[in-house]
């Protein structure tokens, strides 16, 4: 089963829904009550299908997809960790999922307590003072964090600070978020060892610097060991340090951004805190700030009030309110962010507790180093030092076969593995960025290592096999160029072709 679109399964007159009888349609007909010029001229060409057809279509479609539940997914910088089922169960609870965001605050105290507790937990884990959970994704968190930095400077009347310093190894969202936030990006080079070149940084620091964004460990999986000095330098020139939390996972239990001198940061709940990636979203990108910057967090906010007990026997119970009021920054979301994602992340934190949370970083780091050490004879390892959660190979060691990183990635699909991230970071031409999370067993890693060795062998002995991969997937390699040159992005366009 592959290929049909839902529109191609449609037939006029079929229905896949049931609705109550309209007891009022005699008196209140839309077509009579609303002026014709305010109504659609024609119905949308939506599919008309019975329920079973819809169920089969999407069930079968799901089988053309690969998820963490299907197999090993070592996509670098994406932290594809196991998404616990208990998290989904809690997020689906009707007493949380059916709440309207604007219903009376007395009727949502449990939900507000979740929000409040989660932001406190993140603050403890990150070494920050306070978090907003409102941002919808990592990039949205970056943007929010940069707004906070700008707000801070503007609040002091220091309006000339429009420069943001970003290492050349940064995620693409860093410069993009900066641009959206109206900041000018200044790139700082990396040293051959993959970390920020402090000497290259120094000349960039002046009184126009709003701040510096860093990912630590960086996209090469390396801990920026000069971070203390960097933070000192940036602070000395009046800038703030922004921590891109995309790579937070290996830090759990071992290091807190707040302790490294960062002032503002975001966390990707869909990475470090195990919420599902959902084919590209929803994510959640909480933003934390160090003490003194709390007032720059966006609205709405959840505020906790201590309420004295009615009598001495009972403990004081907190009451929560939502502050929608205006402030320096404004709102970056309509309501309180992706609450169902927050429910999952909070469940994850409760499930692990302090005693298991602290093992996440070390075990993720162990897995990454184990793969790195096991494969470095066949794959080119440009930076041989200890890595954190991920590391980067620069393609096969033996480049003579013409087998590229793309070919290796596609061949992995044949063996039932998702490919690593490829051609990022941009520092290496044949980058192959591998991140195995703490949930993966030695057996899984050994299986992957064996296949990677096998592909290296195939590249030597039968390079065309690898270049023609994948062979066993539902479809073969796709023509990206055609798609971009003559974009066909709707069914209507497709039928008109």
């Amino acid at each position: 089963y592959y290929g049909k679109l839902i529109f191609e399964l449609s037939k006029p007159g079929r229905v896949g829904y049931s609705l109550p009888k309209n007891e009022l349609s005699g008196e209140y007909r839309m077509s009579e009550g609303l002026p014709a010029e305010l109504l659609r001229n024609s119905d949308p060409a939506l599919p008309e299908c019975d329920e079973l057809t819809v169920v089969r279509h999407y069930t079968n479609m799901s089988n053309n997809n690969f998820g963490v539940d299907t197999g090993f997914y070592p996509l670098g910088s994406c932290t594809m960790k196991y998404n616990p089922k208990i998290n989904d169960e809690m997020a689906a609870r009707r007493d949380f999922a059916s709440l309207h965001p604007l219903q009376a605050v007395e009727s949502v105290q449990g939900a507000l307590e979740v929000y409040y507790n989660l932001q406190c937990s993140l603050a403890e884990i990150a070494g920050m003072s306070e978090f907003t959970l409102n941002p919808f994704a990592g990039a949205h968190g970056e943007l929010t964090g940069l707004m906070i930095i700008r707000s801070y400077h503007m609040s002091r009347g220091d309006d000339k600070r429009t420069k943001i310093i970003i290492p050349d190894s940064a995620h693409g969202t860093n410069p993009a978020s900066s641009a959206v936030c109206g900041l000018d990006v200044v790139e700082v080079k990396s040293r051959p060892d993959g970390t920020v070149d402090v000497d290259a940084l120094k000349p960039l620091l002046d009184d126009t610097v709003a701040g510096m964004m860093m990912t630590n460990p960086n996209t090469l999986g390396l801990f920026e060991h000069n971070i203390a000095e960097i933070a000192k330098l940036v602070h000395a020139c009046g800038g703030l340090m922004y921590y891109d939390g995309a790579n937070l996972n290996p830090m759990l239990g071992k290091c807190r951004p707040g302790d490294l001198g960062f002032d503002v940061m975001h966390i990707n709940l869909h990475k470090t805190f195990s919420t599902p990636h959902g084919g590209g979203g929803p994510g959640s990108g909480p933003v934390g700030v160090r003490a003194g910057l709390e007032k720059f967090l966006p609205n709405p906010r959840v505020v906790r009030h201590e309420v004295a007990a009615d009598n001495d026997d009972e403990a004081a119970t907190p009451e929560f309110t939502i502050d929608f009021g205006d402030d320096a920054l404004g709102s970056i979301s309509g309501f309180l962010g992706n609450f169902a994602v927050q429910m999952r992340a909070y469940t994850y934190i409760l499930t692990l507790g302090h005693e298991h949370l602290k093992m996440v970083g070390p075990l993720a780091t162990l897995n990454a180093n184990y793969i790195k050490e096991s494969l470095k004879n066949d794959y080119e390892l440009p930076i041989p030092t200890v890595c954190k959660h991920e590391f980067v190979f620069n393609g096969l060691k033996d480049k003579s076969t013409g087998v590229t990183t793309m070919d290796v990635a596609k061949r992995l699909l044949d063996y039932g593995y998702h490919a690593p991230t490829i051609y990022f970071p941009l520092l290496f031409h044949e980058a192959l960025m591998i991140e195995p999370c703490e949930n993966e067993s030695k057996e899984t890693l050994d299986g992957f290592i064996a296949v990677m060795h096998k592909i290296a062998q195939e590249a030597r002995e039968n390079p065309d096999l690898v270049k023609g991969a994948p062979h066993t997937t539902p479809v073969r390699r796709l023509d990206d160029t055609q798609a971009a040159l003559h974009p066909v992005v709707t069914y209507k366009e497709l039928t008109e072709q």
């Binding site: 053309n64 690969f66 219903q103 693409g172 084919g279 609450f339 162990l366 796709l478 709707t490």
Partner: protein
């Protein structure tokens, strides 16, 4: 060990050995000791699933799910049981952005279907693969308009747009360097004269209006697109997605960009998120549109397939030249919409709107039978939301209805005004009960006041 960690003691030892190390601490030798975190997190002990469930039982008891007569950007619409069961398929749920198209056709194909459906609903030519929510999608439309205009950095936004949306647009604008100017409201609708005056300055990149507007009123935008285009201004319409099944579409109004929230199409209210923003535009503007787009292509065997396309527009390629930073979107929420619309189809969405329309108008009529309730904008056409002036204590009324009938009776949008909403989940009986209680509360108030 712990259920999420498969490492046995033996595994750890063997793996460390491969790495030439003797302890897990060795893996962190690159982090200066003084920067390492040496204490325990001040967090609770690990909870078993039994305890987690009890914990949320207790917190859940502090919530009260209510019958929703409130909308204002989040709607309690019916979602067929099939939707949830499909969305929970773990091949969809636990996958990431479909970078490896050969093993991601499931995601790619439903996004293509989603784009097709949203284009149909909005009457526009193309759609992206989803955005965070309706607020940020509108802010992105503002930035897109500025980018498309090249040098203009002013946008107009109607005073009748949901203030929740406007607040986010203004925040983005402030930092992006865009000036946001409000178009006045007049009797609950956008003041056309004010619009025409302000757009005539020829410095406006985009005009943002909504349909229906915050008060539920379906405004008439005849001629607005032409006026905009005369001044080289993009016309942007923000709509509640579900209403597009019956109302004149942004495409029909001549809009350049259609944005809004898709939550009304089968997505649970989730206390405000995750929702999903949609953005549709013309083919001409496709390369200016932010976010991911899935396109059709073929594989080596000539089979029809789908793939992420036009990636050169995206933040990870453009970096500091990007005009949007969106990366993760709301793909899974787009799947909710896709399955929802596959089931509801052409006819179902119409019926949903008719049911909501009937209920809302019936509520308005019955409520205003009591002279203490009057329509704030009498005579204005509305779909399923309307503003009503209350001569009485609104807070007491809302509390009473919540406590006795489990109903959230609208949103107080002014000291004397309630914004009410009816969807197909509210029955005639529900409405009759609510009206009876309203009359009762008002009557009692009068007696007390005498």
């Amino acid at each position: 060990m712990f259920k999420y960690f498969p490492h046995t003691e033996g595994d750890i030892k063997a793996m460390l050995n491969t790495c030439g190390m003797s302890s897990l601490d060795d893996l962190y030798s690159d982090i200066p000791q003084e920067l390492q975190f040496k204490r325990e997190y001040a967090l609770p002990d690990a909870m078993s699933e039994i305890e987690v469930r009890k914990f949320f039982d207790e917190l859940g008891a502090k919530n009260q799910p209510l019958k929703c007569m409130i909308g204002a950007g989040c709607y309690d619409h019916y979602s067929p049981a099939v939707v949830k069961s499909i969305v929970e398929r773990s091949e969809f749920l636990t996958s990431y952005t479909p970078y490896q198209a050969e093993i991601s056709q499931g995601t790619l194909q439903y996004i293509f279907e989603y784009q097709s459906m949203m284009a149909e609903l909005t009457g526009m030519e193309v759609s992206n693969a989803s955005m965070y929510d309706g607020c940020t999608a509108t802010a992105e439309a503002m930035m897109m308009a500025c980018a498309a205009s090249r040098k203009r950095n002013k946008v107009l936004i109607s005073a009748t747009v949901n203030p929740v949306v406007t607040r986010v647009v203004e925040t983005y604008a402030k930092y992006h360097g865009v000036q946001v100017v409000t178009i006045d409201e007049r009797d609950g609708v956008t003041d056309k004269a004010d619009f025409e005056a302000k757009v005539a300055a020829d410095d406006v990149a985009g005009v943002i209006v909504s349909a229906p507007n915050f008060y539920g009123i379906v405004e008439d935008y005849t001629g607005w697109a032409d006026t905009c285009h005369k001044h080289k201004t993009l016309f942007i319409i923000n709509s509640v997605a579900s209403a597009l099944g019956v109302l004149k579409t942004p495409g029909e109004w001549g809009a350049d960009i259609a944005v809004g929230d898709g939550q009304s199409l089968g997505i649970p209210m989730n206390f405000g998120g995750p929702f999903v923003g949609y953005m549709c535009t013309s083919k001409k503007l496709i390369r200016k549109m932010p976010g991911r787009i899935v396109g059709q292509t073929h594989d080596l065997d000539g089979k029809r397939t789908f793939v992420l396309t036009l990636q050169a527009r995206e933040q990870h390629i453009r970096r500091e030249k990007a005009t949007s930073n969106i990366c993760s979107n709301e793909s899974l929420m787009a799947l909710y919409i896709t399955v929802y619309l596959a089931l509801m189809g052409k006819q179902g969405l119409k019926e949903v709107n008719q049911l909501s329309y009937s209920g809302a108008h019936y509520l308005a009529d019955r409520l205003t039978d009591n002279p203490h309730f009057t329509m704030r904008y009498p005579g204005k056409p509305f779909l399923n939301e309307f503003a009503v002036r209350v001569d009485g204590d609104i807070d007491a009324l809302q509390r009473q209805l919540r406590e006795t009938q489990g109903v959230q009776f609208g949103l107080k949008i002014a000291p004397d005004t309630l914004l009410l909403c009816v969807t197909e989940t509210i029955s005639k009986q529900d409405i009759d009960n609510v009206v009876e209680m309203c009359n009762h509360v008002i009557e009692r108030e009068e007696i007390e006041n005498e």
